[in-house]
């Protein structure tokens, strides 16, 4: 293939290089703005020429994201971004591919595509904007909405249990799962950079406020006044401690995690420690199931492991076959094994 290649630009890129000329059309106050800003912010640090970056998305407010990035972009079909990204990345392993999706796009109609992309461990970075609602279609409940939620489509409360995106990803064998939230610029930037570095699918859930149809859905968790009591910031190797005064921790009682006050005979050594790189998924499972109000909500990288990568295996098979058989000759292929003359 004749892909024009340019050497890595000598002039370092800046955030402004990643701002496209399109008017950003989200509602004022939408959490999407800050996610966009922080993605644009970290882009230059990846040191990748912007022509080698592609943002792929589905349909939803969140999925308008690619238009606002001055990179290549593909705004695809509702729910199908993972499949588009799969074709793109398999065809073009040289590209740096990001995937933006919503709780409806990625977990309702697109559940199957996301599941299988995760299972394949395609080397892309997924940003799932979770606002627990359908924004673009004006406020129906989504797979992450709380049970009993009153929305346009469920005037008497939604009847189904929410999906947990972290558990979902984990069960598909995801090799990188992380969570962050739209008002935590620093947290987002760190995680986005970690995600970008990870080889294989990096799956990042971002709590995002939709101030029009689901305003404040995460406020009880991340509002400034309560935040430190209700979120658990993950750091590899460190014990699970939280609280403004770092006075609470999480301990294991048999297989059951429990929140404990520190002091009074309980100290750091009694607590569970974060092991981001554990091959075993039990800890990540535990962490994923922590939810408000029983537990603080984990923010950061829940799990990161190395596993084989879909596209790489395909490349490897081609390499092996080329070595074994030599480059295919069309004429030979057309002739096949048995030729006669008429």
């Amino acid at each position: 293939m004749n892909i024009p290649v340019k050497p890595l630009s000598s002039v370092p890129l800046t955030k402004a290089d990643f701002v496209s000329d399109q008017t950003v059309r989200w509602c004022p106050g939408c959490g999407d703005y800050s996610i966009l800003a922080n993605v644009q912010k970290i882009m230059p640090e990846l040191n990748i020429p912007k022509e080698n970056i592609v943002f792929v998305s589905g349909i939803g407010c969140s999925s308008r994201f690619p238009y606002y990035m001055d990179t290549y972009g593909l705004h695809t079909l509702h729910g199908r971004a993972p499949a588009f990204a799969t074709g793109l990345k398999v065809a073009r392993p040289d590209l740096n591919v990001w995937l933006v999706t919503g709780d409806g796009d990625g977990l309702s109609i697109g559940g199957n595509q996301l599941l299988h992309m995760l299972r394949r461990n395609l080397d892309v970075n997924v940003l799932l904007f979770n606002n627990r609602i359908y924004g673009l279609t004006k406020g129906q409940y989504s797979p992450t909405s709380e049970q009993g939620k009153v929305t346009k489509s469920t005037p008497f409360g939604s009847p189904d249990m929410p999906l947990n995106p972290m558990l979902f990803a984990l069960s598909a064998g995801a090799t990188f799962i992380a969570r962050t939230f739209d008002v935590d610029a620093k947290g987002m930037q760190e995680i986005f950079k970690e995600a970008a570095k990870h080889k294989g699918t990096s799956f990042v859930e971002i709590y995002q406020n939709c101030n029009i149809f689901n305003d404040g859905t995460f406020a009880p968790i991340y509002e400034r006044s309560v935040r430190e009591e209700r979120i658990l910031r993950l750091k590899h190797g460190e014990p699970f401690i939280f609280g403004k005064n770092r006075n609470k921790g999480i301990r294991l009682n048999g297989l059951k995690p429990e929140v404990v006050e520190l002091g009074n005979g309980t100290n750091e050594n009694d607590l569970l420690k974060h092991d981001q790189y554990s091959k075993d998924s039990t800890l990540a499972n535990l962490l994923s199931s922590f939810d408000f109000p029983a537990f603080p909500v984990p923010m950061g990288v829940l799990r990161q492991v190395r596993n084989s990568i879909y596209g790489e295996i395909i490349e490897q098979q081609i390499k092996t076959q080329l070595e074994e058989k030599g480059e295919g000759k069309l004429t030979d292929l057309l002739r096949g094994t048995h030729v006669w003359t008429n």
């Binding site: 022509e51 792929v56 199908r80 499949a83 398999v90 048995h338």
Partner: protein, 600 residues
């Protein structure tokens, strides 16, 4: 004409050959069968000398002789294979008992290497079945000894063959009951027969095979090719001729799965295959790869085409080149997965919401599949559009002698990626073809975003502007219409002005051509026109149609092409339908033509 050969090991096993003949007779076909016993009757089973066989030819029209070559060969072991393979036509169905290809079986038959692994059987449609094992399982309940049980395996094979040629089991079952005195043996044989039949149904083996009339072949080098192989080779050839690496994404479905199986082997051509989680993902991956500059293709059959419809519309909107192979099977719904039909033409034309025109091509013979794929890629790349290629379950599995093309005579498909950032817009168009610019990721300065929302006709940015939308709908329509200018004129087979014109498309070609050849030789005033381009139609089609009094359109559907011709040209076509999952007989076309000519 179809012929079957099932080599036997023992004289005692003859009856099922006979049985098959007689059920064929009952089904209204003329039958000739030539039992052919080995010289040495008691040669050890599995050795070359121990092979006996019977030949069975049948046809629904008159038979003048047994077929020169077999279309189906059942080989119960390597010895049977070795002795009879020479009689199987290239591309014929070879049913093997895979339980008997162990090392000592091979040794007995004097095979040095396992023929299943050397590639020497590549040109046949090999169907491996663990017949012994399955038979033993099937007869388990009768309590027969292993030895007696295994003897029933020929009936298992007969069951498979019966299904292949759509023959009922009842008579054979009655016959078995009469013939075998020991009730447990009768029971066992009957169970094995049924099990073979069921097996063929369950694992979606193929029904009736198609015989393409062997016209006088121009001189040159030939090979045998099936439609599935030809589709796969066409893809690889397009890759070589375009310099783009091929990405084939597909979800298995009968009868399209073989394309995936074929292409998965060509890794040393840089071919990448993705077995997607479903058809929606398959085409989405294809389109994604096209955005990346790959040669994108996806393949499926009816139900999968339905599922791909939303994404085809997306490719129309984003104007990305992607080829969709649709191997038609019996519908609607799950229908008859192993039978052929031409019922997806209108779905290919109109099966998407919105005005979403797509070029539609159809292959007429197994070998033609190769050229139709190349043509599809030519149009897709040149006009930046998805293209649908229709084949069917008959073509996919049929095979014909195929003149090996000269690689260098194949069209040059090298695309020109846009690389100049000066005034770049992804929706700027080539003024002649109306194709938009194709700029792929990795190209500095051409960063842009594509999507399914309506776009400004110049900048390609999202536009909700009413007049712009109308402009774009018309542009997309006009682009496909202009392909007309790029197609060779149609050629009528026979006089260009005549009483009757028979218009065909797809696999109907074979029987129509044979019938018309005959009829023209007998000087009937009939001509033939075969369409491989169904959207847009070729330019001189209108004129041709006007030159005939009557127009007959035989189709394996309820008149889909006929409807298109009527709407486009206001001609009173006569639709002639057959929906039995098998091709028209030459005689059926013949009588219909004669009826129309006579009734004049």
């Amino acid at each position: 004409m179809s012929s079957v050969k099932a080599p036997l090991q023992k004289k005692s096993e003859l009856p099922h050959g006979t049985r098959f003949s007689s059920t064929s007779v009952l089904a209204g076909n003329d039958v000739i069968s030539f039992p052919d016993y080995p010289a040495e009757i008691r040669a050890p089973a599995g050795t070359l000398e121990g092979v006996s066989s019977f030949d069975l030819s049948f046809s629904s029209s008159e038979i003048y002789t047994t077929a020169d070559y077999l279309e189906v060969l059942v080989a119960m072991n390597p010895a049977a294979l070795k002795a009879n393979i020479k009689d199987l036509e290239k591309g014929g169905i070879l049913i093997l008992n895979s339980d008997s290809f162990a090392e000592n079986d091979l040794r007995k038959a004097k095979y040095k290497e396992n023929p299943l692994e050397t590639g020497e059987l590549n040109e046949y449609r090999v169907v491996q079945i663990p017949i012994t094992k399955l038979t033993l399982k099937a007869v388990e309940e009768t309590g027969l000894s292993h030895r007696d049980g295994a003897r029933c395996k020929n009936f298992f094979a007969l069951g498979v063959v019966k299904w292949l040629f759509v023959r009922p089991l009842e008579q054979t079952q009655d016959w078995i009951e009469e013939k075998f005195k020991r009730p447990e043996i009768a029971k066992a044989n009957s169970l094995a027969l049924q099990a073979g039949y069921n097996y063929a149904i369950t694992v979606e083996l193929f029904h009736a095979r198609y015989h393409v009339p062997a016209a006088v072949l121009p001189s040159g080098e030939y090979r045998q090719i099936t439609g599935s192989q030809a589709l796969a080779l066409g893809c690889v050839a397009a890759s070589c001729r375009s310099g783009l690496s091929l990405l084939y994404a597909s979800y298995p479905i009968t009868p399209a799965s073989d394309i995936l199986h074929e292409l998965a082997q060509y890794k040393n051509f840089g071919v990448k295959t993705i077995q997607a989680e479903d058809e929606i993902a398959a085409i989405s991956s294809s389109i994604g790869s096209a955005f990346g500059g790959a040669l994108a293709v996806t393949g499926t059959s009816g139900p999968g085409l339905d599922l791909k419809s939303e994404a085809i519309g997306y490719a129309v909107m984003t104007e990305l080149p992607v080829v969709v192979l649709n191997v038609q099977r019996g519908g609607p719904s799950t229908g008859l997965p192993t039978k052929a039909e031409q019922t997806d033409l209108l779905a290919a034309m109109y099966g998407r919401h919105g005005e979403a025109p797509v070029p539609v091509l159809a292959a007429s013979t197994p070998g033609d599949c190769f050229y139709m794929v190349l043509e599809a890629f030519r149009l897709a790349l040149k006009y930046m559009t998805p293209v649908i290629v229709l084949s069917d379950g008959g073509l996919a599995n049929a095979s014909e002698p195929w003149k090996i093309p000269d690689e260098n005579q194949l069209p040059d498909l090298t695309p020109s990626f846009h690389t100049d950032p000066e005034n770049f817009s992804p929706y700027q168009r080539n003024q002649q073809t109306l194709a938009r610019n194709w700029a792929i990721p990795g190209t500095p300065g051409l960063e842009h975003r594509l999507g399914g929302l309506e776009k400004d006709s110049i900048t390609g940015e999202i536009s909700y502007e009413p007049e712009n939308h109308e402009r774009m709908v018309l542009l997309r329509d006009e682009k496909i219409k202009r392909i007309k200018n790029d197609l060779p004129p149609l050629e009528v087979i026979g006089p260009g002005k005549n009483k009757l014109l028979v218009v065909s498309w797809g696999s109907v070609y074979g029987s129509v051509f044979s019938a018309i050849e005959e009829l023209q030789a007998e000087r009937y005033p009939v001509s033939m026109l075969h369409l491989r381009h169904l959207n847009p139609f070729q330019q001189n089609l209108a004129k041709i149609l006007n030159n005939f009094d009557k127009i007959l359109v035989p189709e394996m559907n309820l008149g889909q092409l006929s409807r298109l011709l009527r709407a486009e040209f206001l001609v009173d076509t006569i639709s002639f339908s057959k929906l039995q999952g098998r091709p028209f007989l030459i005689s059926e076309i013949r009588s219909k033509v004669l009826e129309l000519l006579g009734s004049k």
